[in-house]
């Protein structure tokens, strides 16, 4: 009998489990883990901004989480050191620039710690992320020796009060293309700075299409470096092939052009018909007034 009861209990449990596929025994209050990360970005040694990203593992896949409110701090999570309050967008990204009010704090040290604190929501607990960076500079220059064009990039880091070369910094060196594209200058995917903090990358590519003056943009990028963060520097040089945009196609008077490029024959035909027919209509409307005038005169 006990065995029978046990079978019935198991069967009942299975029925309940199948009938209610949601996890009845799970606690509703358990929240998902929020993965918060923080990055430091500097473009051309000028623009400094922070990028916070939020994602979470839902049904086995990482999904960007939007609408998370994040407080960003410089060095300590105090109100005085608040960089800003941001909210993640549809891609789970929020950005903030350093406010002028924190200039004194920023200038006061060579190393800084950025702190991101996300606010708790119904789905996620509050969480914290940090990013520690050393102030750095990245300088790009060009060399032209023995008809070989090269790009020299030097990275220096601030040690207390002096700028010192930053060795062993991995970076990408290439040419910026349309829509954020990136073309490496040679066969190497990345380059690493030597003891003097310098990288020299030879431009092995020929006939690179540039703008109408032959300008191309050289780009050096340090990505996710533990000490320096994300650094980017650009330099425009006239090393490309001048490309004259061929807008003749769009300037043609065709049936598929804009309304300002209507074929002349069509304009002529359309306006001739419209003017002819509407001229007749206007004439006929004038005839009504003529009839009216005749009628009034007779009266």
């Amino acid at each position: 009998m006990n065995k029978m009861n046990r079978i019935i209990k198991i069967a009942l449990a299975m029925v309940v489990y199948i009938a209610f596929p949601v996890n009845l025994f799970a606690q509703d209050s358990v929240k998902n883990d929020l993965n918060l990360s923080l990055g430091y970005f500097m473009n051309n040694n000028k623009v400094v901004y922070l990028k916070a990203t939020t994602k979470s593992k839902i049904k086995g896949k990482f999904v960007q989480i939007k609408g998370i409110h994040i407080n960003l701090f410089l060095d300590t999570d105090s109100t005085a050191n608040l960089i800003g309050k941001v909210t993640t967008d549809d891609k789970g990204i929020a950005k903030a620039v350093l406010p002028p009010a924190l200039k004194a704090v920023w200038d006061g040290a060579s190393k800084h710690n950025f702190i991101a604190v996300s606010e708790a929501t119904k789905e996620f607990e509050s969480t914290t992320a940090e990013a520690t960076i050393t102030k750095s500079k990245i300088v790009i220059d060009t060399l032209n020796e023995d008809a070989v064009r090269s790009i020299s990039i030097t990275v220096t880091a601030l040690n207390r009060t002096s700028w010192e070369p930053a060795p062993d910094v991995e970076m990408k060196v290439g040419i910026g293309r349309l829509l954020g594209g990136f073309l490496t200058v040679g066969e190497e995917a990345t380059y690493t700075t030597d003891s003097s903090g310098t990288v020299v990358a030879a431009l092995s590519r020929k006939n690179i299409p540039g703008d109408e003056n032959g300008n191309i943009i050289l780009v050096a990028k340090v990505e996710d470096n533990e000490l320096l963060g994300n650094l980017t520097v650009n330099k425009t040089v006239r090393w490309g092939e001048a490309v004259k945009s061929n807008d003749g196609f769009f300037n043609q008077r065709t049936l598929w052009s804009t309304r300002f490029r209507t074929p002349l024959w069509l304009l002529f035909m359309a306006y001739s018909i419209v003017i002819g027919v509407w001229g007749t209509i206007i004439y006929l409307i004038l005839q009504i007034f003529k009839i009216k005038k005749l009628g009034t005169a007779t009266t």
Binding site: Q287, K292, L294
Partner: protein, 440 residues
């Protein structure tokens, strides 16, 4: 007025002056107004919630609204047939039908314009046609020819109305004060002098000449909205003539229906005689044969080749989902009318009325078949669309708006017949006098 036996002018005026609605007229008008209101409610819902209330999706982006538009455009052609072509050909017997034909044309073209705006979803964007319109687009041509045709039709309605307005002003005791004010505003200056008649007659002749190419344009351009796109069922060089022949048929069918109704409910047997039905019957059978000929061209030739890309579309029409509707439109809208009208008894008023209704209903479904099935079979199918995108059946809002628009067109005709003489009085009197003189 070949069959009108010597009627005095007073008698003609008495018979043809607008009559107040009777009980049946009030019920008819109330039903039409209710249907229009239902359509307005549905349109309000569409404006509020967007085109999502319709069942038009990525495949069937043109549905019942565009079918209705093509139907209205088609039916409006009758104005040029009865009024212009017959007048220029000096066909005297058609005089009592001219105003019926013109008001059908005007009301149809008004709702053709409105239903296009309904189909746009965002009505204010109609202004973009004027601010950003491209003359290269057939849609722009359609806007131009529709507005032109509307104005010409209005003028063609107005000029022959001038002498009748004077008669109605003379018999002011037959109308309300408001209507008398309207008549005076529109035609008090008409004295019927020789000079006025001369200008009026010349203007009508010019209008009759002008309206024919414009009417042909409106139907050709509407057909080009389809034929200039590369799709199964639309990719045809024959579409202009196909549309015009179909438009003549449905327009003539509509006039026959209207003739019968006005004759019966306004007691116009002396003016719209069996002879008119007999002659209209001959015209309708000729037009039905012509349209059938174009239909055979449009369907048999592609079916003979049965190109892979058109197979799904044609099979859907002949034996598939749309087979019932397709064969209904062909058999009820063309073949049965032809068979009935070939016999003299078929050209009597009641059989003609039934045939007219069959033609008009068949024509409406024919327009639906021209528009929608093609869209469901694109050459390049969209990937991963929901299953319901592959089918189209209008939502209740679409039905209500379509029925509301049809009711609106009928309402315009109804109110017109209430306010103005539906048969031209002055022309009837003149022709009566001419006939009397000949007899004398």
């Amino acid at each position: 007025m070949e069959n009108v036996t010597s009627l005095s002018s007073e008698k003609i005026i008495h018979d043809l002056l607008p009559q107040k609605f009777g009980k049946r007229g009030m019920i008819w008008t109330s039903v039409l107004i209710l249907l229009c209101l239902l359509g307005a409610v549905a349109y309000f819902r569409q404006l509020k919630n967007g085109l999502v209330v319709t069942n038009m999706r990525d495949y069937a982006s043109w549905g019942i609204y565009i079918s209705n538009f093509v139907f209205f455009v088609a039916i409006s052609l009758v104005g040029s047939l009865i009024t212009a072509i017959f007048r220029l050909a000096n066909v005297k017997w058609a005089t009592p039908l001219t105003r019926i034909a013109e008001i059908i044309a005007v009301s149809a073209i008004v709702f053709a314009s409105l239903i296009i705006i309904v189909d746009m979803g965002r009505p204010e964007r109609v202004l973009n046609l004027f601010t950003h319109g491209r003359i290269q687009s057939p849609i722009m041509w359609d806007v131009i020819v529709i507005s032109t045709y509307f104005v010409i039709s209005l003028l063609l309605l107005y000029f022959p109305l001038l002498p009748d307005l004077k008669i109605m002003i003379r018999f002011k005791e037959k109308s309300s004060n408001a209507l008398n004010k309207l008549y005076r505003f529109q035609g008090s200056f008409w004295n019927g002098t020789a000079a006025q008649f001369k200008i009026s007659e010349r203007s009508i002749t010019i209008l009759c000449i002008a309206i024919i190419p414009v009417a042909f344009s409106i139907h050709t351009v509407t057909s080009w909205l389809f034929a200039t796109t590369y799709r199964a069922g639309w990719d045809s060089t024959n579409f202009g003539a196909y549309f015009i022949s179909g438009a003549f048929l449905v327009g003539a069918g509509a006039v026959v229906v209207a003739m019968y109704i006005f004759r019966k409910f306004y007691q116009l047997e002396k003016y719209i005689t069996e002879l008119h039905f007999e002659k209209m019957g001959r015209i309708v059978v000729m037009l039905a044969l012509l349209y059938l000929y174009f239909n055979i061209n449009e369907y048999m030739v592609p079916a003979f080749k049965m190109k892979k890309s058109e197979e799904a579309h044609l099979s859907g029409l002949f034996t598939g989902d749309y087979a019932l509707m397709f064969w209904f439109a062909i058999v009820v809208g063309m073949i049965i009318p032809i068979l009935l009208l070939l016999f003299k008894k078929g050209r009597k008023p009641l059989p003609m009325f039934i045939v007219g209704v069959m033609i008009v209903v068949g024509a409406w479904f024919k327009r639906y078949l021209i528009v929608t099935p093609t869209l469901l079979h694109p050459f390049l199918p969209i990937q991963d669309v929901p299953a319901n995108y592959h089918h189209y059946f209008p939502s209740w809002e679409e039905w209500a708006i379509a029925i509301g628009s049809l009711s609106g067109a009928l309402l315009i005709i109804t109110f017109f017949a209430r306010i103005y003489p539906i048969i031209p009085i002055q022309e009837t009197i003149t022709e009566q006098h001419e006939q009397d003189e000949q007899n004398y």
